[in-house]
């Protein structure tokens, strides 16, 4: 199997990048074969790209549920493992349990949100990747990963639309 070639086209503005994406689609490049890399969050709507799937909110919800369960364990199970009477209060009073439940739910939710970003973005990832450092200086790059047969046409279109550079992408250590 031949190694797949990728092209990285660098634009300095959103509009030409959005035009380029439209043209590439007409040339038969599937949306799944493109990725936009940018130094600021450019929304899918601005670029006319299908919206991205993210698991982060679901993971957050799951983490909240898990945190709530930990809270239940701390507030209602642990006092029964070794019953100690204090101040004439019940072993498992509800009002203080509300506090424990709240804190544990929030902690579970926020940790899983954080971990969710790592999980969804495959962080940490120190393998070589297609990238140019100019991106963090505000450039917008389109990475085309599966090229149609007439590669030259793609390159020409990208150049025409104002790409600053159209290069064969080389995976490099960031």
């Amino acid at each position: 199997m031949a190694e797949e070639k990728s092209i990285l086209a660098v634009f300095s503005d959103i509009d030409p990048a959005a035009d380029a994406i439209e043209q590439l689609r007409l040339l038969g490049v599937h949306d799944d074969c493109m990725n936009v890399i940018s130094g600021i969050p450019v929304t899918e709507a601005m670029l006319g790209r299908p919206s991205q799937w993210t698991n982060v909110p679901r993971l957050a919800l799951g983490g909240a549920a898990a945190g709530f369960l930990v809270g239940l364990f701390l507030a209602f199970i642990t006092p029964n493992m070794y019953t100690i009477s204090v101040g004439g209060q019940p072993f498992t009073p509800v009002p203080p349990a509300v506090i424990v439940l709240f804190e544990m739910t929030m902690l579970g939710m926020l940790i899983s949100t954080f971990v969710g970003v790592f999980f969804d973005s495959l962080f940490p990832n120190y393998r070589p990747m297609h990238y140019v450092p100019e991106i963090s200086d505000g450039k917008i790059a389109i990475l085309i990963e599966c090229l149609p047969p007439d590669e030259q046409k793609v390159r020409d279109v990208l150049k025409q639309l104002g790409a600053e550079s159209v290069e064969e992408a080389e995976a490099q250590h960031l």
Partner: protein, 474 residues
């Protein structure tokens, strides 16, 4: 012709005033931020060394002495079992509230002026909480056993007592420390990637940034996940922040003591935390603007102006809660509470009570109403500092001074601080030291957020008036 000229100058004036209307190429801004990080004068190292020496002596050496000899070297006694340790704990947790207020509440409400200094404020949260942790652990009689308070399985088969406000505190502060650190780190990732891209190979900095940037490139997916996560954090961390200082207030409010047992302590403490926190934010911003290179572009009088307005509102809210607490206690007429209120105002530390009101209310009200004054960095720096002194006094009045008066007059005795003064200075020095270290290691300005804001802002003409418009990009 003259009319057009007037308009241009008005436009120019607006651009000069507002960072969001004064865009620069991203590469230029990146360069400025990196340069600010890398430009270090000998004065920095002088202060750094001095602070490091203070931390080593006042925090670690003195704490070691106290651990070995016992709390007798501090000033705590019967009846003031809690002294400056708890004052500092409450104080530092208060400072930490500013970061969340700015980076979460202002983010949720899309207050655009927040953009350049969310990180500067959020750093205060994390580092402030570290000092709060130090202060509370110092105060323990047997700190080497502090892990007994953690809810972890252990061979004693004993779990913490969740009836105790201190256990709630532990959970709340842990939650807050972890979540604010994560909330600091997430929006930092793109800036760490920027720093990675601008650092030459073969340096330790490259390794540092490459490791921390986690391989971030800025793909659509990465941004989407990050944006979603930041949104969740911004909303969820607000109730966590409120819960933290409310629970801190419950350490006092749950106690059967005159003056402490008050239902308004929760919101009173939260607003007090924001009061000192905002004061600390302007202090930090004034120092950052004054001492770091290129920061005059990012942090402008408009930012002090905007925070000054918030400070004025918070000062009014603080006065409102203070008066609520005071008049209910006063009207109740309980003899011990009356004794306590009299002690606050006319006792040997009465000057502190009046100073608190002057610093927290009179001075902010007298100065911050004026737009020009609150836009002046050095002036608002002084106001912020006085507010912090006033808020420290407030906690001092609530903790050791209020502890002096209890229902057993035979035990009344004044509290005289001992080694805890050193330890308090140590935490302050450590806070500044951590902040200085961070300012040399991580980009202090969230450049991508600034650029995003600059993209969203433009000028529009309505009739003959040029006004600022903001588009919602998110």
């Amino acid at each position: 012709m003259a009319d057009r000229k007037h308009h241009t100058s008005h436009e120019e004036h607006l651009r000069e005033q507002r960072l969001m209307l004064d865009p620069m190429p991203r590469g230029k801004m990146n360069e400025m931020v990196m340069e600010a990080m890398h430009t270090t004068s000998w004065k920095f190292w002088l202060v750094f060394g001095l602070l490091a020496a203070i931390v080593a002596y006042a925090l670690f050496y003195k704490w070691g002495v106290m651990i070995l000899e016992g709390l007798g070297v501090a000033g705590v006694n019967r009846p003031s079992y809690w002294g400056i340790f708890l004052v500092n704990t409450v104080f530092w947790i208060g400072i930490s509230h500013a970061g969340t207020f700015i980076s979460a509440i202002l983010r949720v409400f899309k207050a655009e002026f927040r953009r350049p200094f969310t990180r500067a404020a959020e750093l205060m949260t994390t580092f402030g909480l570290v000092q709060a942790g130090f202060s509370i652990f110092m105060h323990m009689g047997r700190v080497w056993l502090s892990y007994w308070l953690m809810p972890i399985p252990n061979q004693r088969q004993l779990w913490p007592n969740f009836h105790s406000p201190l256990s709630w505190d532990l959970l709340a502060i842990t939650t807050y420390l972890l979540s604010s650190t994560m909330y600091l780190f997430l929006p930092l990732i793109p800036d760490l990637a920027m720093a990675r891209d601008r650092t030459p190979d073969g340096t330790w900095q490259k390794v540092f940034y490459r490791t921390l940037a986690l391989g971030f490139r800025g793909t659509e997916g990465e941004w989407t996940h990050l944006r979603n996560a930041l949104n969740i954090f911004a909303f969820a961390i607000i109730p966590v922040m409120f819960s933290v200082h409310t629970i801190v207030s419950w350490d006092f409010a749950m106690a059967t003591r005159p003056g402490w047992s008050s239902t308004i302590f929760g919101p009173y403490f939260v607003i007090g935390a924001l009061h000192s926190g905002m004061g600390a934010v302007v202090m930090v911003l004034a120092v950052v603007r004054g001492t770091m290179k290129n920061m005059k572009y990012f942090i402008r009088p408009e930012h002090f102006e905007a925070i000054g307005k918030l400070m004025l509102i918070i000062s009014m809210a603080w006065a409102y809660f203070f008066f609520n607490d005071y008049i209910v206690q006063w009207y109740g007429g309980d003899k011990w509470t009356k004794e306590l209120l009299h002690w606050h105002e006319a006792g040997p530390m009465g000057w502190m009570w009046f100073a608190m009101l002057i610093f927290n209310v009179a001075i902010p009200w007298a100065t911050l109403w004026n737009k020009k004054w609150r836009s002046t960095p050095w002036l608002i720096f002084i106001v912020g500092m006085l507010i912090n002194v006033g808020m420290w006094f407030e906690r001092y009045i609530i903790v050791p001074i209020s502890l002096t008066i209890n229902r057993m007059p035979f035990t009344w005795r004044l509290y005289q601080p001992g080694i805890e003064v050193w330890l308090g200075i140590g935490t302050l020095a450590f806070f500044i030291l951590l902040y200085m270290t961070a300012s040399k290691l991580i980009p202090l300005i969230p450049v991508w957020e600034v650029q995003e804001g600059q993209m969203a802002h433009s000028l529009k003409k309505y009739g003959r008036e040029t006004v600022v418009t903001v588009s919602e990009l998110e």
